[in-house]
Amino acid sequence: MEKKFDKKKILDLLLNNAMYIIIALLVVYVAIKRPKFLGIASIINIISLTASKLPMALGIAGCIVLAGTDISAGKIVGLNACITASLLTTVYKIWPNMTAPFPIPVVLLIVLCVGGLIGLFNGFCVAQFDLHPYIVTLSTQLIIYGIILIYMMLGTNNGMALSGMTEEYKQLITGPLFNIGTVRVPRYVFYALCFVGLMWVIWNKTTFGKNMFAVGSNKVAAEVSGVNVKKTIMMVFTLAGMMYAITGFIDAARVGSANATTGLNYESDAISACVIGGVSFVGGTGKISGVIIGVLLLQVIFAGLNFLSVNANLIYIVKGLIILIACAIDMRKYLTKK
């Protein structure tokens, strides 16, 4: 009897930490096959990749906690990357009348406003018209896509990729934070850490964060206990929009250019990362640490399969399986609670 109980406990422990175990197994396997996978250069590369995807995932996680989603995220990233690249540049193609690049803080403010306003618009439609976020963001991503295409045709640009960004801006984002040997850790890793801290405080230490979880787990109950549900929803989406804007702001410098396909399918990776990290679509559950694990796992898969020279087609299959397993484990937890 006692033995059986133990078995169940161990199984539970294994399942509840399945994602950590999968990451560990994957890392060990790749490292055995390709020892350089655990070299400093490779680890910094994985950390940098993770850092670049984190702000966006942190933003989208809030929408998922509300039992919603946001599929306009990638396009918001793209639009803001294009805006950033067009203003912090030394070749004035979108705005031929510019005579000097904009000051960096002004551009940051502009993209935060653009991202925030689009987020607010998403949140407003969700809250005010009681529409499912999928429908709302499905519509807005089309609208934003159109705006991106129009924006890229402005001036003398003709839809070309935007590059030639100012050295100052590139340094701000990709300049070295510090060096380990000859390997450079880019500054955006530090920014990502700041955003992780910021979001952790917002989620765990503020009334707004608590309200978000309350609305996510039960809207009616939250309403009854005095939470301003509509305001909470709008704030979550606005915050998410601003995080996408930051992602776009960083991505333009990180990739070194922006075009109309920048941000393509980003949301599917961000949503997958959240789900893998246990931010449940059921709503009301999720942790910042989970989001980080989710993003990290996807990047470990990307880099690991690359090191193993795995056929590109298999990457889709592996990703799909991981997401499916993660969701199954997640639902199992939920079912046992019931």
């Binding site: 350089k36 070749v91 618009f121 407003f124 880019p186 070194g256 250019s257 396909t261 020279s309 056929n311």
Partner: protein, 361 residues
């Protein structure tokens, strides 16, 4: 308060849209009257096609014909619906950048619909098959020989590597290790560029007694890295290159010594990654030769500053000009190729090829 906010937000969105729309689609025909020339694009995000689009806008405008652009957003069904709607609306010439290149059934469907309304069709850029096109009257295709860009890129790579063999061979092992970035699976141009970009270079090298190029990762049977979104994007090549450089570098004596990309966007991603790792930044740094295709403005700029080595120019203005000439000929009842620029290669009675040219500064 909230209602006011919603109205304001909606108004803002509409204004933004309306404001931008004027500059982007200046040539729209009045709503009640169908345009003369309807142009159907496979995807408005494509950078090269966007430059063709603005050249075509200028060409059609100066020819004094009315026109409208349609975006199929990579979906053939959308495009076919758009074409049928335009026919119903009463346009006079169809100009089609077919989404599913070389799909004969799609081409036949489009041509059947056009024939029923007795309309001429000009296909361009994305390939259609000769036997289908020639079986209909008043149909032409403006394209490029899709293998040509790959051949030119391969030749450029081969010539460059041969002329600078010892500089390119960083670790002095006598073999040049390369990486190839492929934009998309199942695309004829991507296939040809991936194949000939290396094959033709190898031919030049082996003819001169040098060993063939070696893919940097001997275990990768594909011998290319693919943009998983099929978007030929610089994000994909940047992330691959970052990952490659974390494993293959000069310290380990296995640095990638040559980058060949299917297009300039992917070449750009590789250049940006190399720059971040202390390469390709000027005379005092080691330069890894990077080759692309398209001769985008930014690529030309990179080549002139020495951060990129070569690209192949696909003539956007020439393509737009040829399409315009044929469309206007059809509109006026002239022969399809009357007065067409003699620099373009005519192929039979159905096809015009716009030649590529190599660009290396």
């Amino acid at each position: 308060m909230k209602k006011l906010l919603s109205v304001l937000l909606a108004a803002l969105m509409v204004f933004t849209l309306a404001g931008c729309n004027n500059s982007a689609n200046g040539g729209d025909a009045p709503a009640s009257d169908a345009e003369d020339v309807a142009v159907f694009w496979y995807n408005h995000t494509d950078a090269y096609l966007s430059s063709v689009r603005s050249a075509m806008t200028d060409a059609l405008e100066s020819a004094g014909v009315t026109y409208n652009h349609y975006d199929a957003n990579t979906d053939q069904t959308t495009q076919t619906d758009q074409i049928n709607t335009a026919i119903a609306k009463g346009v006079k010439v169809l100009v089609v950048n077919q989404v599913e290149a070389s799909n004969d059934d799609v081409t036949k469907t489009i041509l059947d619909a056009a024939a029923a309304a007795n309309l001429p069709v000009v296909f361009f850029n994305r390939s259609v098959t000769e036997e289908v096109v020639t079986s209909y009257a008043n149909t032409a295709y403006v394209g490029t020989d899709y293998t040509q860009a790959g051949h030119m890129e391969g030749k450029m790579v081969g010539d460059y590597v041969l002329a600078n063999y010892d500089t390119v061979d960083l670790n002095g092992d006598g073999v040049i290790s390369y990486v190839m970035f492929k934009g998309q699976e199942g695309n004829l141009e991507a296939d040809a560029r991936t194949q000939y970009g290396v094959e033709d270079a190898d031919a030049i090298l082996t003819a001169a007694g040098k060993p063939a190029l070696a893919f940097y990762d001997a275990d990768n049977a594909n011998k290319y890295l693919l943009d998983l979104n099929g978007a030929w994007s610089n994000t994909a090549s940047k992330e691959y290159m970052d990952t490659i450089l974390s494993q293959y570098n000069e310290e380990n004596g296995n640095m990638v010594e040559l980058v060949i990309a299917n297009n300039d966007d992917m070449a750009l991603g590789a250049v940006n990654s190399l720059k971040e790792h202390g390469y390709n930044g000027g005379a005092d740094q080691v330069t890894i030769p990077v080759f692309g295709v398209d001769a985008m403005d930014f690529a030309v700029a990179l080549i002139n500053e020495g951060s990129m080595t070569g690209t192949v120019k696909q003539d956007a203005v020439g393509m737009a000009d040829a399409v315009k000439t044929i469309a206007v000929n059809f509109l006026n009842g002239n022969g399809a190729f009357d007065g067409i620029n003699s620099a373009y290669e005519l192929e039979g009675t159905w096809r015009v090829n716009i030649p590529y040219s190599a660009y290396n500064g």
